[in-house]
Amino acid sequence: MNPQLEDLACLYVLDRLDPVERAKIEAVISQDPALAELVGRLEEAVEREVLELPRFEAPAGLLPRIEGEVGNRVAAFPWGGAARWAAAALVAFSVSLFAVRSLRQSASVSPGFMVVGLDAHQALRSELPQVAGLSRDARFIELASLAERYWQAPDALPFKSGPQARPGPGYALYDPSSSQGFIGVRHLPEAQGAKRYHLWIVDSRTGKVQEAGMIPVGKSAEGLYFFSVPPPPGSPASTLGFFVTEEDAGGAAPSSPRGRIVLGNDTL
């Protein structure tokens, strides 16, 4: 590698580039695996330097003060309604980018994930192969990785539906053990007027349902979103499914679906 590029890599790692220079080298890094590896190693070296400084413990009482300060700002980051989805979608994308690069080598799929294909009038469900021994964090990263893999390549979904056996307009990927999942939707028209789309988890054996959140489909008519919802009480993972309904906007989240089903079905 030429010294000029090494110089730039060093300055980048030392945070001594202006924003324009940073953007330029980040573009190069994204296209140059050798440079990306060098930057990773240099970052490791800087980290080691910091870790070898004379060590001082942070004063007791600092964490509560920090939490007190960020607590006042939680309102600016509401974890509910549409914002919950949007924020988590960002997390999902950023985590998955990393996960695709880091975990794919070691694990194909984590245990117990389920994926439900959401077509206009039906739902197809598939359980994914199991890989034991992943921590909670690793499961989440694998879940996000898989969600994005299906988003980028719908043909990788473990089933086909719709005309000409093409993947349907949506899918839900869910980890029953953490109650976390992702839903990807395409070609869903923007909800009209006072209507909103809601995702539901259903026990197809008993018909019990639980609202999983509102899907903020905008003009783009597509998106990949995170959700967190526990299964209906007493429901085994093997009977779970998902569907999307169109509901009246306004007021509290509905406790049961009243509107028409627009994706999937409440039976499998």
């Binding site: 695996p33 240099l42 060590r55 942070a58 600092l62 924020a87 988590a88 997390v91 880091s102 989440f140």
Partner: protein, 191 residues
């Protein structure tokens, strides 16, 4: 060439940052548990004042909380990202107060001759835990001094050059060679 696999701790920390970005307080506390001591130590090193370092670390963790949702793990390691936020916070404070901590004392010797003991030789006979430290000392004093000024102060490269009485090009070279030397040392002894 595929990107290098990252150790489990880096993956775990990327998850903690992601969960923090989603508003998970437990993940934030875990991150604090892992990072608070090294970041506080860094702030003490940069600011030279424990009270101000405490305020800087508080500011840095608030930034971590607020910007975790935009952290991009494909661009940097989580701890590097936290170090960068902390360094920027400390540098802002240094500039606001218009003074700097005592500069790093540099040895008077010139760059070590090229036949200086190889880093690997320096490490021989030491326990594993001491090897990296020994290796780091294999970086020449001038390279280390320039690197420390770049890492722990708000001085520009031109200011570092003036401080060291060297041309900017020489200082750039020292910083690069110092950092590359550390990288090589770590690469040789990483499992």
């Amino acid at each position: 060439m595929p990107p290098p696999a990252r150790p489990d701790s880096v993956i775990e920390e990327a998850c903690l940052v992601a969960r923090t970005g989603a508003g998970d307080r437990a993940a934030f506390r875990e991150l604090y548990g892992r990072y608070s001591a090294p970041l506080f130590s860094l702030a003490v090193r940069m600011l030279g004042d424990a009270g101000e370092a405490e305020e800087a670390v508080q500011d840095a963790f608030v930034k971590i909380w607020r910007s975790a949702s935009s952290f991009d793990p494909s661009r940097s390691r989580p701890f590097t990202w936290a170090v960068t936020l902390t360094r920027r916070t400390c540098i802002d404070r240094l500039r606001r107060r218009g003074r700097r901590p005592a500069p790093v004392a540099l040895p008077s010797e010139e760059v070590l001759p090229s036949d200086a003991p190889d880093a690997r030789v320096l490490a021989e006979g030491r326990e594993d835990g001491e090897r990296v430290t020994a290796l780091l000392s294999g970086v020449s004093p001038n390279q280390r001094g320039a690197l420390e000024l770049a890492l722990y102060t708000d001085m520009t490269q031109a200011e570092i050059a003036r401080q060291l009485g060297q041309p900017v090009g020489t200082v750039k070279s020292w910083i690069r060679r110092g950092l590359m030397g550390l990288r090589t040392a770590i690469s040789q002894y990483s499992p």
